[in-house]
C-alpha cells in the first residue's frame, strides 16, 4: 500500500504549497482543506482511525468552515491585485530551509529509526479498538491535563462572551 502513501503525501504537500502560492484567499483555504484531508488519510493508513477522523471533523469540518466564512465576507478582488512580495517570500523560504536542515540533522543523530517502533496490537473485537484505548488513557493516566484543557477552553469561551457583550454597549 505504499502507492496510497505517496498519493496522500503528495496531496498533503500540494495542498501545503497551494496555501502559500495562491493569491486568491478562497483558493488558499481550499488548498489547506486538501492538505488536511491528505494528512487525515495518512493517519488512517497508520491505523490511527480516531486521529484521522478527528482531523477531518475538527480541522476540515469546523475550523476551515469558519475561516472560509470570514474570507468570503472580505473583498477577494483586492487581495488578488496585491503584488508578489519578493522579500517576504525569500525570508519565508530561508526559514523553511533552515528548519528542514535542522530536522534532518536531528533525525540523523537520533536513535528512533534504529530500534523500530514497538508494534501496537490493535486486535479486533468489542472494547478493544483504538478509540477505547485512547479514551482509557485520557481519562485514567492523563485526567489532570484533560481537566486543565477543559477549564482553559471554558475560560476562553467566557472571555469571548464578555468581550462581545462589551462592544454592544
Amino acid at each position: 500500500m505504499t502507492f496510497l502513501f505517496y498519493l496522500f503525501a503528495a496531496m498533503a504537500l500540494i495542498g501545503g504549497v497551494g496555501v502559500v502560492v495562491n493569491k486568491n484567499p478562497v483558493s488558499a483555504a481550499f488548498a489547506m482543506i486538501l492538505s488536511f484531508l491528505g494528512l487525515a488519510a495518512l493517519f488512517i493508513q497508520l491505523n490511527a482511525y480516531l486521529v484521522g477522523i478527528l482531523q477531518i471533523l475538527v480541522y476540515a469540518g469546523a475550523i476551515m468552515v469558519l475561516f472560509l466564512f470570514i474570507i468570503m465576507l472580505m473583498n477577494v478582488e483586492e487581495e488578488e491585485k496585491r503584488k508578489f512580495p519578493i522579500v517576504n517570500a525569500l525570508g519565508g523560504s530561508g526559514v523553511a530551509i533552515a528548519f528542514a536542515i535542522l530536522l534532518a540533522t536531528v533525525l540523523k543523530r537520533s536513535e528512533i529509526g534504529n530500534a523500530g517502533l514497538p508494534r501496537l496490537s490493535v486486535a479486533e473485537g468489542p472494547g478493544n479498538s483504538d478509540v477505547h484505548r485512547i479514551g482509557e488513557l485520557l481519562f485514567s493516566h492523563y485526567w489532570f491535563p484533560i481537566q486543565m484543557v477543559g477549564i482553559l477552553l471554558l475560560v476562553a469561551t467566557v472571555g469571548a462572551v464578555v468581550l462581545s457583550k462589551k462592544q454592544l454597549k
Binding site: I33, Y49, I53, I56, A60, A62, M72, P126, S129
Partner: protein, 363 residues
Amino acid sequence: MDWHLIIAATIKIVVFVFLTTLPLVAMSVWAERRVSAAIQDRVGPNRVGPFGLLQAVADGIKFLLKEDFTPNHVRKGYFWLAPALVMVPALLTCAVIPFGSKLFGEKMVIADLNVGPLFVFAIASLSVYGIVLAGWASNSKYPFLGGVRSTSQMISYEISLGLSIVPLIMIYGELNLGRIVQYQADNGWALLPLWGEGLSVQGWVLTIPVFVSFVIFMTSMFAETNRLPFDLPECETELVAGYHTEYSSMKFALFFLGEYAAMIIGSGLAVTLFLGGWSLPFGWLSPENTEAAVPWWHGLIHIGVYFSKVIVLILFFIVVRWTLPRFRYDQLMRLGWVFFFEIALFNVVLTAALLWWFNKPVS
C-alpha cells in the same frame, strides 16, 4: 493485494450506493410529490408509468437534456465544483452504515470501521462547503445570503447532532455500527427495549434519555439537510431559491439529489442507532454474534428490514415537510443554541448518572 476483499467491496459499493441508494433518492422525490399532493388534496404526478412510478426517469432525462447555462458573472471553477461537493459527501457516508447482517459470509457493510458515527459526522460536515461555495461563486445577492444562512445553520445544528448521540454511545459502549446493531438485536432496540437485557428497570429508565436524544437527533437532521421547517437557506419568499438560484439543468439536480441523499443517509443512521438497524423485533432470526454464520435467506430478510425502516423514516421526513410551516431565522438559531444545545448536554450528564446508579458496585 487481497483481490477477494477488493472485489467484494466493489460489488457492495456498486449495489448499495449506485443501484440502491441513488434509485431510492429518485423514488423519494416521487414519493415527496405524491404525498404532498395527497396532503393538499391534489393528484400529483400519475402519468408516467403505473402510479407515475417512472416520473423519476422522466425527471432525470429532463435534467440531462436541459441547457446547462453558466451565467457570465459567476466564478467559474468554484461554480462547477460546488454541486459535486454537495453530492459526494452524502454518498461517501454510505460506507459505514450496515445495511444487512451477512450474505454468503460477507458482512453487509462497505467499511466495518470502529469509528462509525464519527466518520459519518466528519464526512457530513464537509458537505457545508458545497453550499458555501455555491453561494459565494454565484456572485450575486440572494445566493450569497442563502449560503451564509446555510453555513451558520449547519454549524449550529452539527453541535446538537453530535451531542445527541453521546448518551447512546455511552449505553452501547461501542462505536462500531455493526456491533451496535447486534447489541440491539440481542437486548432490545434503543427506543423499544422489550426483550433480552432491555427487559429490566435499567433498560426502561434509559429509554427516557434515549427518547430525548431521538427527538434532538431527528430535528437536527431536518436542519442539517436544509428541509422544511428549517429550509431558510432556500426560502423562496425571501431569497428566490437561495444558494442554487443561479444553477440550472444537471448542476441544479445535483443540489436537489444531494439534499435527498443526505436525508436517506440521516434516516439510515437514525435507524441504525435508535431503531435496531437490520434486526427484527424480539431478536427473531438474528444471529448470535457479529461473527456467526447467517443463512442466505435470513441475510436477505435483514436487508429488506433495514430498507423498510429507512423508507418509513423517509415518509416521516416528507409528511413533516408538508405539515409544518417554516420557522423564522431567529427562532431557528434560538432553538439550536438555547434549547437543543443545553438539553443535549444535560442529557449526557443524566445518562452518565443513570448508568452509574444502575451499575454501581455493591459494597
